[in-house]
């Protein structure tokens, strides 16, 4: 099985150089936080990730969770690892101080979450879902609910889940039909929820379910959905888990990946009705979900990076151990020396570094937006569908390349290459499919504001193009020319969309995917080019990275520009056709 080495140096480069963590923390008055602390935190988290969580990754794949009599038993070893994770305080990283959190910035949480997901994505989904529940409660819960549930959710003593999906309500949550009936101060919840990640397990003394359901008098559609807290065990007067609530796991899904993460069919109210407590106001549940959406979607985008990084490390390792072909003197050639294998490794490395740059940048913008920066807020809105949509799509390609580097051995389960490929396949689906992200980007995030946020981004990219083209370095000038070409192509397509798609919903839908991917490659290429500018400057000074790393940063940006940036042009061309034949065939001809 593959080992995992946390990419500490690149993480610190992106945090310190690309994002300017020290400056950011100064601006946001986070006096306690600086790049030095950040690097210690990432390094220490990396130890737990690589030494404790990573070895359990293939164990979870081969021995997934099981269910019996309504209760799920998680993969052996997960519970001990979870206790260690909680005892070491990692669940508290970004939580507010008043509820026992460390109140560290979201961007640092993102850098650390990358490690959890790389080491063991199926495991890391559990704390990720808890974080979602925490955010929902902080934003919308009453003081009483916060006091009862937040400290234990933030410490990790209890975990949280999100119960949204039903058999007939997937991407379209307006169709939610679970019922909530008032019963004194509380509510009785009944109905079935599916695809509930970590819906049940034995790792903690309680599980806090957040459930979308309808009140009896609720209006139809999206405006009639309310959000409830339904604990697995009801709390006694001391706030401790006591009587079991009327909720159970009916069955587990048999999935193509993330076997270590129990995906539950949850049944609420089979008997007297599960007791639930209303979060916020009635009928506002869906809008509450939207307030958490940026963070939740960026978290899944990050998983795309994490799993691709793990796959990349495995490919680098294997390609040095596998010998095929001989030199003239009879010595064997490790496949890492073959150009096509090297191309695949570089494609993975460049893709990963672009994703890291984008994921951390978007996360830092969430921090700035939280502190009231309006420009960052609109940038978060624009970035989020790109982070979720593009990164999880690219993860399909990169984890597939790892299988390819392994050749026949990659198709055989025992090398573990297939696991990353299978695990990655859920990413463009859950938390809003790629299609949903693409529509979000072209509709709400581009047409809705007449392209204002998009234009700001384009201007910033243009500024980097100018810096690159005025650089004394030939490599940077070349990079500048390539980025400029891609930017022009993307601007053409963007203008065309603004001119033509606003009035034509079908046209907008046709080109939305290409627009998403185009923006992904453009933004990724831009952030790597910015990294190259930083690297070139650093080379002139006494620095902590060293020439090999900085030169690699520049070469990787160049490889991205050669290998991926031309895709901006391809997607742009497709957009300009309007893909007008999408609906050319009647359904019976399909």
């Amino acid at each position: 099985m593959s080992t995992y080495n946390p990419p500490l140096q690149d993480a610190s480069f992106v945090l310190d150089q690309l994002i300017g963590l020290d400056q950011m923390c100064n601006d946001l008055k986070l006096d306690e936080v600086n790049s030095e602390l950040a690097s210690v935190i990432v390094e220490e988290a990396g130890k737990l990730a690589s030494e404790v969580l990573a070895p359990l990754n293939s164990v979870g794949d081969q021995n997934g969770a099981t269910v019996s009599e309504g209760a799920v038993t998680e993969t052996q070893g997960f519970s001990d690892a979870y206790q260690q994770f909680v005892e070491n305080g990692w669940a508290t990283l970004t939580g507010p101080e008043e509820f026992g959190g460390q109140a560290l910035p979201n961007v640092l949480g993102t850098a650390v979450n990358e490690l959890w997901h790389s080491s063991n994505m199926a495991f890391a989904l559990c704390p990720m879902l808890s974080q979602g529940a925490v955010e929902a409660l902080i934003a919308h819960g009453s003081d009483e609910l916060k006091a009862q549930y937040l400290p234990q959710l933030i410490s990790g003593e209890w975990t949280g889940t999100m119960n949204l999906t039903e058999p007939n309500a997937g991407s379209d949550l307006a169709a939610v039909s679970a019922k909530a009936v008032p019963d004194g101060e509380q509510f009785r919840i009944s109905g079935q929820k599916i695809f509930i990640t970590w819906g049940d397990h034995q790792m903690t003394s309680n599980i806090v379910h957040l459930v979308l359901a309808r009140l009896p008098d609720a209006p139809a559609g999206v405006k009639g959905i309310s959000l409830f807290i339904v604990p697995k065990y009801l709390l006694d007067e001391q706030g401790q888990p006591a009587a079991q609530n009327d909720v159970s796991c009916v069955s587990l899904e048999h999935k193509m990946g993330i076997h270590g993460s129990p995906t539950c069919v949850m049944s609420f109210g089979d008997n007297e009705g599960a007791i639930g407590y209303l979060v916020g106001e009635a009928n506002k549940g869906l809008s509450y979900m939207f307030t958490m959406m940026n963070h939740a979607r960026q978290s899944v985008g990050l998983q795309g990076l994490s799993i691709s990084e793990r796959a990349y490390q495995q490919a680098v390792q294997y390609s040095q151990e596998r010998f095929q072909g001989s030199n003239r003197d009879g010595s064997k050639i490790a496949i890492i020396n073959h150009p096509d294998v090297r191309r695949m490794l570089m494609a993975m490395k460049a893709g990963n570094e672009a994703m890291r740059a984008l994921a951390y940048s978007a996360a830092a913008d969430i921090d700035r937006a939280h502190h009231g920066d309006a420009a960052s807020r609109s940038r978060v809105e624009l970035y989020t569908p790109i982070v979720k949509g593009w990164m999880t799509e690219l993860a399909q390609e990169l984890t597939s390349l790892n299988v390819q580097v392994h050749g026949g051995m990659g198709f055989i389960e025992e090398t573990g290459a297939a696991q990353h490929y299978r695990d990655a396949r859920i990413l463009p689906i859950y938390e809003g499919t790629t299609g949903i992200q693409a529509l979000d980007l072209i509709g709400r995030k581009t047409l809705f504001d007449n392209g204002t946020a998009l234009k700001h981004l384009q201007q910033e990219i243009q500024a980097s193009v100018d810096t690159l083209r005025n650089s004394e370095s030939e490599s940077l000038q070349q990079l500048g020319r390539k980025l400029e070409t891609a930017l022009k192509q993307a601007c053409n397509a963007g203008d065309w969309i603004l001119d033509n798609a606003a009035q034509d919903k079908e046209l907008m839908g046709n080109v939305s995917f290409d627009n998403l991917m185009m923006m992904g490659y453009l933004t990724g290429g831009w952030l790597l080019a910015k990294s190259a500018i930083q690297a070139e400057q650093l080379k002139q000074t006494d620095n902590a990275y060293g020439a090999p790393f900085l030169n690699a940063k520049i070469s990787t940006a160049q490889f991205f520009a050669d290998h991926y940036l031309p895709r901006v042009g391809q997607h742009s061309e497709t957009i300009l056709t309007g893909l007008r034949h999408t609906f050319a065939l009647d359904i019976d001809l399909l």
């Binding site: 080495n5 220490e44 988290a45 260690q84 460390q102």
Partner: protein
Amino acid sequence: MKILVTVKRVIDYNVKVRVKSDNTDVDLANVKMALNPFCEIAVEEAVRLKEAGVATEVVVVSIGPKACQEQIRTALALGADRGIQIETDSMPESLNAAKLLAKVIAEEQPELIVMGKQAIDSDNNQTGQMLAALLDMPQGTFASELKLESGKAQVTREVDGGLQTVELNLPAIVTTDLRLNEPRYASLPNIMKAKRKPLAVKTPADLGVELKEHSKLIQVTPPAERQAGIKVASVDELVEKLKNEAKVI
């Protein structure tokens, strides 16, 4: 009881060690550095003694350039209370290190000194022993178990023939072997607290120690690369090769 723990900044054990092209030293430029694993075990043991209520304060000392403060902070994040850095340009050789530590110990007056048995960079395994001689203190080296009772330390030592248990009067010096304990991971709250723990910086001059050159590094060469093996046709051929080529029998 005050415990003093020494920690050394060394090349990370995961890093493939490279020799500089001019063979003057190991290449440490932009290489990941870490807390010496044996020192980590020493820190863990001291912190456990504090958690058990036996020790009241754990002080960590490191010698080296400013960068070694990172390793002091790591030890503080594992639970030590305060740090002392003795600032030197490079890592001093064992005897100089022992002399510097002797002065710190004279100032701090700890009842127990816990050290790694050796550092994984130079593998000398001598600073603890030298320090014991300089201070005229009892020493229990290669400890795999440590018990403190009524002013004495019982140390189980890993020796060639098995285990040997010695009893030392305090203050004493104990050096750790691998099996003494399994160090914990630093917790996030402790990493945050470590930032605020005191860290004093001293120079050899402050301690009145003049660093002397007792030995000289002449050359560093990487070990010979392993050659590919061959298959022998018979036992006779094997014996013949072991006798005449390998010259081991």
